[in-house]
């Protein structure tokens, strides 16, 4: 199959959906001629014109609200927030309005919108441009939160997100933008709320999200050489969560390591751990449920510190070994 990058997959999903449905439009800072800070919409202005590719001044709250309002009257906006850190600014319209309008109005309103945003560290962008805040939004009833880890998932999940009748926070990872993988040319939809087993194994389940999926896959290779056979489950959407494949995997392996980039305290790993502990998988556990996550600090600028702030491949290998060797 043809291989394209994660970034191209995002662009292709937006482009194909905009061709299919004229209610879909893109709004965000520098999404027009500039093509988006990371290039996600490069060339789309030329294709769709300024009425459907809306460049905004610096107005995170305003543009998120504009998307919400347009959705309320039947449009299907895609809003791009340049860095996930700036969802802090967009939050009022997203959390108080977009997420709640339908419920508040007795189910008599629909807000079909997508808020796309790149998250994560690794580019030296420091404290204000590196956060992973997905769990803030997973906490909000009315929002869906999607975190693709491959180009294939990015395209299929973005198409589903655009077609979904709810407000979807679509979390891309900066470090994944340049990664390549097979992606069908025709449009396809991956249902939201469907986890994916990225690698089968029998000794240990690793539940990983976003960029940590590729790190876990990398770690699995080394672990395999040591005779540790890892199964990797990617929830892909953290709200709604498809818990069953995770539970089944843990029943099979008896051990689970949860890996994410966000800070451990209050991170999604807690939710996953609790979901497993509350499930029938509990009785099958041969080791404590372990979380490996970002350190309890903001993301620092210095390269070495930045790398050390979030789980890297060697950290995953070491933690997996400890679990399998009964050292936790």
């Amino acid at each position: 199959m043809r291989e394209i990058t994660y970034l191209e997959a995002v662009r292709e999903a937006m482009t194909q959906e905009m061709e299919r449905d004229e209610k879909v439009f893109l709004i965000g800072e520098d999404v027009g001629q500039y093509g988006g800070a990371f290039g996600a919409s490069f060339g789309m202005l030329e294709k769709f014109g300024p009425d459907r590719i809306l460049d905004t001044p610096i107005t995170e709250l305003g543009l998120t609200g504009a998307a919400t309002g347009a959705a309320l009257v039947g449009m299907r906006p895609i809003a791009e927030i340049m860095f996930m850190d700036f969802l802090t600014l967009a939050s009022e319209q997203l959390v108080n309005q977009a997420a709640k309008l339908r419920f508040m109005f007795g189910g008599r309103a629909t807000v079909p919108m997508v808020l796309r945003t790149p998250a994560g560290s690794g580019t030296g962008a420091a404290e204000h441009h590196s956060q992973s805040l997905e769990n803030w939004f997973a906490h909000i009833p009315g929002l869906k939160v999607v975190m693709p880890s491959t180009p294939y998932d990015a395209k299929g999940l973005l198409i589903s997100s655009i077609r979904d009748n709810n407000a979807v926070v679509f979390v891309e990872h900066k470090l994944l933008y340049k990664t390549k993988g097979p992606v069908p040319e025709e449009p396809y939809a991956i249902p939201l709320g469907q986890a994916d087993v990225k690698r089968e194994g029998k000794d240990l389940t690793i539940v990983a999200t976003s960029v940590m999926v590729s790190r876990a896959l990398e770690a699995a290779k080394t672990l395999a050489e040591e005779g540790i056979d890892v199964e990797i489950v990617d929830p892909r959407t953290i709200r709604p969560l498809d818990a069953e494949p995770i539970i089944q995997s843990v029943i099979k392996t008896g051990r689970v390591l949860i890996v994410h980039e966000a800070v451990k305290m209050g991170g999604y790993g807690g939710e996953l751990a609790a979901t497993i502990a509350e499930s029938r998988a509990f009785g099958y556990l041969d080791a404590p449920i372990v979380r490996l996550a970002g350190r309890d600090i903001p993301i620092p600028y210095n390269r070495t510190l930045e790398l050390s702030a979030v789980p890297q491949v060697p950290d995953i290998i070491a933690k997996a070994r400890e679990i399998v060797q009964g050292k936790v």
Binding site: E29, L89, A125, A126, H128, Y301
Partner: protein, 326 residues
């Protein structure tokens, strides 16, 4: 008119302003080089072409006054008297840097030296400025704050709320919008103009002014007036320095949103060269004297580069320090 203004500034002070502008230019040219050579992991925003706005504005302050900056803030730090070695070390992410390598180019701060920090969030400094101003007022001293922000920041909600509160509490703050015509690729002219931005002042209920931001004397005169007003208890002002960024928005930029001709036209109005011409024409300096100032600035930056490159990396053991105060 210009001639009269030139003469209101002593030779020593003019020399210092020239030095600061050249040091800023040299710092950023070096930053760009280091970046191109792959020595820097991260991003940077260069203010080349905007030096008169930073230096002219901050030259009106007393040493113990404050500034609050923004992401394009190297010139602001230098104008506030930053140690070039510590700045460069921060840019290189070293322990010796102003923020121990934790902040980098976009977050350089020297709280003890009155520089309350650059900011990675556009508009992020504006609400802080209100509180700083109020704090200074409560302390009862006569210090003032210059709060710098871009034309892009002026479009944020934070700007509106901050102006409202600043006027309500009559804080000793001069808000200085460095209108360099673009927020990344978004042209300010699409939603406003320097005149309209300056006009906001009246709507909020404070004095406002617009300057030729590439004319150091013009900037200095307007800011001096606003600083005196704030120091005398008159409350906030809003000043728009109309200027231009020569380089791309950040490390990468294809300049698709503007023409080469436009860039060149603004380069004709190089703020450093303009001030230099004025003081030479006035007979305050010879060209040779200014060449020496320029050369000295570049030498200082070269020393700063060596200092930064030879400095230690922060230790991983120290990574969790500093999240909370004890």
């Amino acid at each position: 008119m210009q001639e009269e203004k030139v003469r209101t500034i002593s030779k020593a002070e003019a020399a210092e302003m020239l030095r600061l502008m050249y040091a800023t230019r040299a710092f950023e040219e070096q930053a760009e080089k280091s970046y191109m050579m792959g020595k820097i992991h991260g991003t940077m925003h260069l203010s080349i072409g905007q030096e008169a706005s930073a230096v002219g504005s901050i030259s009106t302050l007393d040493p113990d006054d404050y500034i609050l900056g923004h992401h394009r803030g190297h010139g602001l730090c230098i104008a506030k008297g930053a140690d070039l070695n510590l700045m460069m070390a921060e840019f290189y992410g070293k322990e010796a840097g102003y923020c121990r390598g934790r902040g980098g180019s976009m977050h350089i701060a020297d709280v003890a030296g009155g520089n309350l920090g650059a900011n990675g969030v556009v508009g992020g400094g504006l609400p802080l400025a209100v509180g700083v101003g109020y704090g200074l007022k409560m302390r009862g001293d006569k210090r003032v704050l210059l709060s710098f922000f871009g034309d892009g920041a002026a479009s944020t909600g934070a700007f509106h709320e901050s102006m409202i509160l600043a006027v309500l509490y009559q804080v000793p703050v001069v808000f200085i919008c460095e209108n360099n015509q673009y927020a990344m690729s978004f042209p300010a002219r699409k939603w406003t103009s320097s005149e309209r931005l300056a006009g906001f002042a009246d709507s909020y209920g404070m004095p406002g002014a617009m300057t030729d931001g590439n004319n150091l004397l013009d900037v200095r005169e307007a800011v001096q007036k606003a600083v005196d007003h704030a120091r005398a208890g008159g409350g906030p002002s809003l000043i728009i320095n109309n200027t231009y960024r020569w380089r791309g928005h950040s490390k990468s930029d294809r300049n698709r949103y503007r023409t080469q001709q436009e860039i060149e036209e603004w380069q004709e109005a190089d703020p450093i060269r303009r001030y230099r011409k004025l003081v030479v024409a006035d007979g305050l300096f010879t060209d040779e004297e200014i060449d020496d100032i320029e050369k000295g600035a570049y030498e200082q930056i070269e020393l700063a580069r060596v200092f930064a490159e030879e400095s230690e990396e922060p230790s991983v053991e120290s990574i969790e320090e500093g999240v909370y105060a004890p």
